[in-house]
Amino acid sequence: MTAFDAAMATLLADPNMGGDAEWQAAAGGAWQPVRVLLSTPAELVPGLGATSGRAIAVQATIRAADLTQPPRRGDLLRWAGSTYRVETVEPDPLGLTCRLGLARIS
């Protein structure tokens, strides 16, 4: 484990920063426990008219090593009674973590 990987593992394990979630591949299969770092940026959406929209995005950062296969669009992530579908996957340059853009489905 590299220093960067160890740092991310520490951040994810920290109860003040990371949280418990479950991940399921798009193809199905068993739910797998993972640790996630969540962020919920709320920003103005570039709108069409004078009255713009504001929405909340949900992003989760996970360690690639925690998953049995690389995450991809259509995977599911759930925690705290809500389920989200993975819409975007942004791996870091070292391939240690992925930032997932999520869509709430329930």
Binding site: G49, T51, S52, R54, A55, I56, A57, E87, G101, L102
Partner: protein
Amino acid sequence: MTGSVPLREAGLAAIAQRLTSIMPGVVVERARRAPVDVDTDTLPRLILRGEEWQADETEEPGLTHYRLAFSVTGFASASTDLAAEQALSLLHAQLVEAVAGWTPSTPGLGDVAEQGAEFSLYDSDASARPAGEFLARFSMLAIGPSGGPWAS
């Protein structure tokens, strides 16, 4: 001739009243400046705003034919991306059905004409909730005595 209610305000008020009565399940607001929060505000929602005001004194002696442009921004959400797109289409169709070709009963106000619309489904990077908006443009004919743009 002077009055207390400008033709422009009478037209916009008539449109808002029409939308409220024809579309009871939709929240209708006028002249909202604050962004619509698709996570906390009740949807579907329509925002009505007055736009350009054009005058034409050549149509009729002693009268001015005004063209009141207004826009309606519609916001909708659903549980899936496709359902959100369909909800936007439905809301827009209901809006057009409610106002296009309709003539208010207020004296001086003429029929409403549809001008066009733009649609936008929010990116997932910006909104975890499948949601989007459209901007529909309309115009309304208003006729008043030259130099007297009053409805009453």
